[in-house]
Subunit: 163 residues, 2 copies
């Protein structure tokens, strides 16, 4: 299995496995029929990481943006790998979400919130394992100090006016 690094770029194909739905009754993930068996036991976890495709930024121009001045620190030119901007070489986004309910039969995963529009395509779900994802001693740049040290209780949603 051990292959040597060869400095060669590869291309891969991703297929969406469901979609975000925002309704008057809350926010949920609708998993396509084929993939419903993959939800088994997910309801035993408190949180799930949702990998989604920011398809409005899936253009050659946006995928070529490598640095930007983030809205929260406009004087700090920042590489996109040091940010969560959806403008990046692969416009894949990841949001950790609070799990409210998993209906394995219907393929419906109710979540606290997510910063993705209605209809956004989801490409993966991964249960949140503290041993993998919960960092005890994490630091961030000086210009971000003062930000919350924990994910908000209900997760991260759209900004007001976006939904």
């Amino acid at each position: 299995m051990n292959k040597q690094a060869n400095n060669q770029q590869e291309a891969y194909q991703m297929y969406s496995i469901g979609q975000v739905q925002r309704g008057t009754d809350g926010v949920y993930l609708k998993v396509f029929d084929t993939y419903r068996p993959a939800l088994k036991q997910l309801g035993q976890f408190s949180h799930v990481m949702v990998f989604w495709w920011a398809d409005q930024f899936d253009t050659e121009e946006f995928r070529g943006v490598l640095q930007s001045n983030p809205p929260y620190a406009e004087d700090k030119l920042t590489g996109v790998f040091a940010s969560r901007s959806p403008l990046r070489p692969n416009p894949i986004a990841m949001t950790t979400c609070k799990l409210l309910d998993v209906d394995e039969e219907a393929g419906i995963v109710r979540i606290g919130d997510i910063d993705a529009f209605d209809g956004t395509q989801i490409v993966d779900l991964k249960a949140y394992f503290p041993v993998c994802d919960r960092v005890e001693q994490a630091y961030i740049p000086d210009w971000l100090v003062g930000w919350p040290e924990w994910m908000p209780e209900n997760g991260i949603g759209l900004e007001e006016g976006e939904a």
Copy 2:
């Protein structure tokens, strides 16, 4: 921007942006020349989430595996979305890594460790933001209770004998 969910699967193209390198001098990420500007400011963070492609499992057969009995709980049939198995519809893996050093000019990111082989292609890097990724109250299934509640100091690497 608001599109309605249409229950329709989409396909997307990902391109690798670098590779994992495991040497006698440690483990690092080698970012391809084109993408080096995207590393700016990354060294200001303590941790980075590395998105990589488990390409030995990128076959129709492995991508069709939706449930498995995980090695850590062999009697618990588990959906792949409730696991971190690299066998999944899109064989994308994500490992949170401790940042040791970022050389923006050379495109080299030294990390504590990662559970990926030498030569593994990387598709994205995202700085670890506690406000997005650090969950204060997380629970896991009963059969996993006893697992560490935090990521190990140096991160997660390969099992003994794998590297």
